[in-house]
């Protein structure tokens, strides 16, 4: 990095502005962004949706959509202005110098060409004859740690898992040995353990290949673990920049500080304190804001901020901040506001459980091809408590939720009980009372809400169907629910497309609560939302729980979310319960080796990923599960042949913390990442 001053930077943006033409009007998306990447440097670009971070990537490669254009400034790759390149030079730049990895690997690969064909193509452009290109493609796949590359070469994209697909895309990107690699949300949508694998891979490959990396993400943890420097984008402007450690430790812009405080991190729990949120909304693209763009949402803003747009000024240690009061950011008031509502920390001791699952199994298919999605799972959930369900995809989390909701029928012999009464497998055979008692909040409010209905109608229908209310009573209940989810009467007439993602999820929550449920299944309730919105929804769920003593079955791949909301945590692997217990016991350890690996895979802002436990090998197929302990094929702490032949029992301690492992409890590990920061 010392040489950055001598050779031209690999990537340099000088005052780049980009605008999109929407209905005949130019809407600025990027506003005077400047940044530069030295050789071998990894630069993280953070921002929430709509901040313009992906537009940066598109502008560098000149692949903006037809209605977008660079309205000012220059993007230089290896000192050459990208806008000035002719067609052939642009193609040469794409073929040799700059590579790009996008968010959704399943869509980035051509569905009708084999993997080998698609990777070899990159070498053919660079002049390799066909046979040699294929050989080099195979060795490239090996370098991104794909086992059996020869077999993968013959596969089509849809035959690979998401993690494998992303490895292939990374292989294609690195095949040309580029000087600049742009990663745009490369792990969004992947499982936590796969995400960790991909981040590890990128971390290793950056040393092997020496490419400079522009890493674009909304995931602060991923950025912290990988990058040297970070830039924070807000409403198309770079508001802060600096070395990753010092920036995350002591942010100098209130927006960065707000983002970091929104994260559910170790030590924060629903019964201790609400999460901080950033009040208000980002400005609509194209709206004109006098003064600082962040002022309307900033706890430090005063008249000066609302009048004068602050410049991006150095604040020492190679850091820049676009704030008049960069030195006061540590005094930013906590925006969570309301004092934590009274929590029922332990619940009523004698209350009967709201949910009991006894020997729940689900088998798909028949004998030789049977897939055991759930194997003999027994769980209890008390009123007013949250059970967090954790596991990789294919672990049976969703099957469990679907069985509960009556969408799939469990195997004979499974028993489900809601409030002590048996819960029929099919929705049709459940009582109206049970249907009211058990509700769901889905991951994606866009697909869960009817787009042509107004908020009044969406919530009102639920009130009528679940609450049996009509007329004035119905209106009163709609208003109460609206207040409960912190929406105002202004939104009653709005349709989903006029609402932000967070508001839509609030409507979905209000609908689930229309019949005063006792148990709500929350299926990844915040994973489609931005960090600051996620915090607000988590607070909302915690408040509703405290007020109404509703129990949650929480499914999430984000351990921060699980940690914040859960009283109990259950860990599933290939449909088998490997560990269950009070949240604190499961998180602090000793834990099952699988839990330990999951916990250490979660990226954290503290950036300590050195003590990571890496799971090797793919998740075994449910059709042909391993004998003995289901986890032994990937277990870093396998003790011997007993693991391969004999499945350990689920052994509980006095506090109800049960672990399914042959290792004695005192020898089980504790994940270091969980030590409070």
């Amino acid at each position: 990095m010392k040489h950055a001053e001598i050779a031209p930077p690999v990537l340099e943006l000088r005052d780049v502005s980009v605008s999109y033409r929407v209905r005949g009007r130019a809407v600025p998306v990027l506003n005077g962004v400047s940044l530069s990447l030295g050789k071998g440097e990894v630069y993280g670009l953070v921002g929430e949706s709509g901040s313009g971070k992906s537009t940066v990537a598109l502008a560098v490669q000149r692949v903006l959509p037809p209605n977008g254009h660079v309205s000012g400034g220059q993007a230089l790759v290896n000192g050459r202005d990208v806008a000035a390149l002719d067609r052939a030079a642009l193609r040469r730049m794409r073929a040799r110098d700059v590579a790009m990895v996008f968010q959704d690997p399943g869509r980035a690969l051509n569905p009708s060409l084999t993997i080998g064909r698609q990777v070899a193509e990159v070498f053919e452009i660079l002049g390799s004859p066909h046979g040699e290109a294929l050989r080099r493609a195979e060795s490239m796949l090996e370098r991104v740690r794909i086992s059996a590359p020869a077999r993968v070469m013959e596969r089509y994209p849809h035959q690979l898992s998401g993690g494998m697909q992303q490895r292939v895309v990374i292989a294609m990107a690195l095949a040309k040995d580029p000087s600049l690699l742009i990663l745009d949300e490369p792990t969004t949508g992947l499982d936590a353990t796969i995400e960790a694998e991909i981040l590890d891979l990128v971390d290793t490959l950056r040393r092997e290949f020496g490419a400079s990396i522009l890493f674009i993400s909304h995931n602060l943890g991923a950025i912290a673990g990988l990058c040297d420097r970070v830039g924070v984008l807000y409403a198309g402007r770079l508001v802060e920049e600096g070395p990753v450690r010092s920036l995350f430790r002591a942010p100098r812009h209130p927006y960065t500080a707000g983002l970091l405080r929104c994260l559910p991190r170790p030590g924060l729990r629903k019964d201790l304190s609400p999460l901080d949120t950033i009040p208000g909304f980002p400005p609509a693209p194209g709206s004109i804001v006098a003064g600082c763009v962040f002022a309307p949402r900033c706890g430090l803003a005063d008249d000066l901020c609302r009048r004068v747009d602050p410049p991006l000024v150095p604040t020492g240690e190679g850091r820049l901040s676009r704030c008049h009061y960069a030195d006061r950011v540590d005094r930013l008031p906590h925006a969570g506001g309301r004092p934590a509502a009274l929590r029922n920390a332990s619940g009523e001791v004698d209350a009967p459980p709201v949910l009991e699952l006894d020997g729940l199994s689900k088998t798909y298919g028949v004998a030789p091809y049977a897939v055991h999605a759930l194997r003999d799972v027994s769980l209890r959930l008390m009123p007013g408590e949250t059970l967090g369900l954790v596991g990789e995809s294919g672990s049976g989390k969703s099957t469990l939720a679907h069985a509960l909701l009556g969408l799939v029928a469990p195997d004979a012999g499974s028993r489900m009980a809601l409030d002590g009464a048996a819960l029929a497998a099919e929705v049709r055979r459940r009582s109206p009372e049970q249907i009211k008692t058990l509700q769901i909040v889905f991951q994606n409010p866009d697909s869960a809400l009817n787009r042509s209905h107004t908020v009044r109608r969406l919530i009102g229908r639920a009130v009528t169907r679940l609450g049996g209310l009509a007329g004035a009573l119905r209106e009163a209940q709609v208003t109460r629910l609206l207040e409960a989810v912190r929406l105002t009467a202004r939104q009653l007439g709005a349709r989903p497309r006029q609402l932000s993602g967070g508001m839509k999820q609030r409507v979905a929550v209000a609908r689930a609560f229309a019949g005063n449920p006792r148990l709500v299944v929350c299926d990844e309730p915040t994973s489609a939302l931005d960090v600051s919105v996620q915090a607000a929804i988590l607070n909302l769920l915690a408040d509703l729980q405290a007020e109404r003593r509703v129990a949650y079955l929480l499914i999430s791949h984000d351990l921060g979310v699980v940690r914040y909301l859960s009283d109990w945590i259950a860990v599933l692997y290939l449909g088998r319960l490997l560990e269950v217990g009070p949240a604190a016991n499961v998180l602090d350890g000793p834990h099952h080796p699988y839990t330990e690996a999951l916990l250490s895979a979660a990226p954290s802002v503290a950036g300590e990923r050195s003590g990571r436990i890496r799971l090797t090998g793919a998740i075994p197929s449910g059709v042909n599960p391993p004998a003995g302990c289901l986890f032994h094929t990937r277990c870093p702490r396998r003790i011997g042949p007993i693991c391969d032949t004999e499945e350990p029992p689920l052994v509980a301690d006095a506090q109800g913390h049960a672990i399914r492992c042959h290792l004695p409890r005192e020898k089980l590990g504790r994940a270091p990442a969980l030590a409070p920061a």
Partner: protein
């Protein structure tokens, strides 16, 4: 994988045979419901009722319907399509001859419409939103709604009567070579080309627009591939999948839709054969003709399904992993 594909094919084949059987019942019932009986049709309206009854007895057409159906189906299964009342001869050779003629005409239609339709669709997608795209889309839509009998007459007037570029009749002199036959077939093919052009062009355009904006196309562009390679290898391959299926499925439609054209151009195809048989109450010919068209329709649908499966690796190689 091969086994799964084979099973899929066998299942579709079984379904097709079932459909064909149901069709045979519908066709048979339809002919039973039609007024008049064979003997009356043969002997004419002024014939003595006793003679009619006697002929019906002789033909077996006064038996119970179930019996007639069974003997008809039995005949079909052994390759006997029955006797034509009108021609007093076996039906099969007539059907065969007409089918060959119709297939020639259909082949002509597709030889013209497929390249033009796909070409126009690709061009429209590459110029999406521009004037050329609008022109192609509007032209395609307007042409599709012109009924064959209207366009046929207009075409005959312009090309055969006014300009005299093409022969008026579709039937070529006996013993003509392929070139003469083609010359005779162009004009009758055009009305169907006009109907199908818009359809194929719009399908192609939709597939192209989707493929052009797909992430994998962006990946290909960012690999630094030359544009023709991106287009040929990455875009077209995915864009044309739905179009190919549609074209295969349209073959069946074209064969059935030839009735008007064959009649107008006095062409001895299956359409005019069926129409003639219906007029003459020549039930054996009518049933065999309709069943043949139906069988062809079902066969092309089967081929279309198979093509889709074979061309799309996602379907060919089954589910995930």
């Amino acid at each position: 994988m091969k086994g799964a594909l084979g099973r899929f094919f066998l299942r579709r084949l079984a379904l097709s045979l079932l459909t064909l059987w149901l069709l045979s019942i519908v066709v048979f019932l339809g002919c039973q419901v039609l007024p008049g009986d064979p003997a009356r049709a043969i002997l004419g309206p002024l014939a003595d009722p006793r003679a009619v009854a006697a002929l019906n007895q002789q033909l077996g057409s006064n038996r119970p319907p179930v019996e007639i159906y069974l003997s008809w189906i039995g005949g079909l299964l052994t390759g006997d399509m029955g006797q034509s009342y009108a021609y007093r001869a076996p039906v099969a050779p007539f059907i065969g001859h007409a089918l060959v003629n119709s297939l020639k005409l259909a082949a002509m239609v597709f030889a013209i419409v497929v390249p033009i339709g796909i070409g126009a669709g690709v061009l429209a997608a590459l110029r999406a939103g521009r004037p050329l795209d609008r022109m192609i889309s509007v032209a395609g839509l307007s042409l599709t709604v012109i009924p064959e009998f209207v366009s046929s007459i207009a075409l005959i007037l312009v090309f055969a009567v006014l300009l005299r570029w093409l022969p008026l009749s579709a039937s070529w002199p006996a013993g003509s070579g392929p070139l003469v036959q083609i010359q005779h077939l162009i004009l009758p093919a055009l009305p169907l080309v006009i109907v199908l052009f818009g359809y194929i062009a719009r399908m192609t355009r939709a597939g192209m627009v989707e493929a052009l904006s797909a992430d994998y196309t962006r990946t290909a562009v960012l690999k630094g591939l030359p544009w023709p390679t991106v287009l040929g290898r990455h875009v077209l391959r995915n864009a044309l999948l739905p179009t190919i299926t549609v074209i295969a499925a349209q073959m069946g439609y074209a064969l059935g839709g030839l009735v008007v054209v064959e009649t107008l151009f006095r062409y001895q195809g299956i359409g005019s054969l069926v129409l003639g048989a219906a007029r003459a109450k020549d039930f054996a010919m009518l049933q065999a003709g309709i069943l043949t068209v139906g069988a062809f329709f079902i066969a092309t649908t089967l081929v279309a399904d198979l093509l889709t499966t074979l061309l799309d690796p996602r379907l060919r190689t089954g589910g995930r992993r």
